[in-house]
Symmetry: C3
Subunit: 204 residues, 3 copies
């Protein structure tokens, strides 16, 4: 992994872990629970992907830097949560960067492990949203990603761009950047305009 | 896999995915969340089994037909949920067919991967009920299968018939049909007669 | 595995399964649901660890004795839950023994599979607490281990002792005993003195 990609990857994990740590503080977990929830949120998506493609032990367990980052993020969330809550809208924007990065790296890793394009796009999406789903399950609520705003769909769109390029034989670093940008732009627009996917009507 | 078995397998996934999609509509998920919950319900049991026996990537990720069927079922649930709700009792009967099929194919796959008969029967049961458990966890409720009616037990019974036959050396297609039938008949009788397993008494 | 270790391992699973079975009775599950929850609690931590280190099928599925013990524990919980509830404080002490044992055996198994010390300590902790987390998720509540008392931290401490000894090249049976004792003593002291980890302040 190139140094730039490593830094981006760790930055994405940091932001995801922050959101997990904040959820832990709000659920009145103790400091240790906050750290665990931060790590699960930051690393969970990649771990689920690695389990499903058979890349065990998961990459994040094989490199101590991937374990240190969520701990630091969790401590930051624990200590500075009032201040973080005030800038939560900005955190949501950084979160979009993480989402864009993870959906692409996740899809590409699945392709490298020989999965078909359709499955690779889904695993890219899972890499992006899996941590948040685990966070919400641990906090005892229906995963936010299933209920609100365009989040998983943005991840699926970014992953699909990468997968289509790969299948067409013209995957390259700039394509990865483009794919991540597609995800990030969709997500930021959805945040800004409060876009919603349609809900079913006529519920009794 | 024979064409007949493939069709049956996809039909079982379709019915399971319908129940997941309906749960999503009732949880007021948007259309994308409904599709995700449908896929998780239809494919989750087999994916859990494949993870536990080391068959990665899971079979359903390696074949696009297994990914298309839950999407179609989810769209049907999203669009036609009022009508589906009215015929839900009939859906429960089709669901029994899927359960019977999955508990047998799940147990046999575990045996083929070298698991002992006891574990294979459990994995057959897990294949049948796992998707519904994931559906209920995502929807934030105690899994129905743990609480109500004879469901997992029917799957265990069907899986056990297949496992005993395999251990005795007389496994054959007709045994698989018989094992699935055992599960289906128990489940349909339990549905019809509202059979319940005993609950513990004397709760304070 | 030595006969002594096997007996200890099964005893730990028995106690964990008891707590799962009691949770099932309190959630008004039927007898079958109680057995499933008992097994998930007793075996879940080890299964999660085995999935993450790639030791599939998980050890507990490959040995029928590991499947019989939770079933017996679940039946005991189902039948004798009023009596067990009265001695629950004593059960919590036995539970500490299981925790101490599992965090050490879990960490050592991860080291044997080539994981780095940091990850091995985390997997040791996961082996100890994973079953309880699954139990609470199935029962629809935020995992107790994240919320209350010093539990996961005790497991992490015990696992860390084993890992440090291993990395230093002086791991031996008596070190394993010492590491388990560290976990058990911390847990028992925390139980007795109601030690708590700090919680975040200033929640709006």
């Amino acid at each position: 992994m190139s140094p730039l990609l490593l830094v981006l990857d760790l930055a994405g994990i940091f932001v995801f872990s922050l959101s997990g740590g904040l959820a832990g503080v709000r659920n009145r977990l103790d400091v240790f629970g906050v750290l665990v929830l931060a790590a699960l949120t930051g690393l969970g998506g990649g771990i689920l992907r690695d389990l499903l493609i058979g890349a065990v032990p998961p990459a994040s367990l094989a490199d101590w830097r991937y374990l240190v980052v969520p701990v630091v993020a969790g401590l930051v969330a624990f200590r500075f949560h009032p201040r973080l809550s005030r800038i939560e809208r900005h955190i949501a924007r950084f979160d979009a960067l993480g989402l864009g990065l993870f959906c692409v790296t996740g899809a590409v890793k699945a392709l490298q492990f020989g999965l078909n394009p359709f499955a690779a796009a889904l695993l890219g999406m899972l890499t992006g949203v899996g941590g948040g789903v685990l966070r919400d399950l641990m906090a005892g609520r229906t995963p936010l990603v299933l209920r609100e705003e365009i989040y998983a769909l943005a991840a699926l769109a970014g992953a699909s761009v990468a997968v289509v390029a790969w299948a067409g034989g013209w995957y390259a670093p700039w394509v990865a950047v483009l794919a991540a940008a597609v995800c990030i732009v969709i997500r930021l627009l959805a945040l800004h305009h409060h876009w919603q996917m349609p809900h079913a009507g006529n519920l009794d």
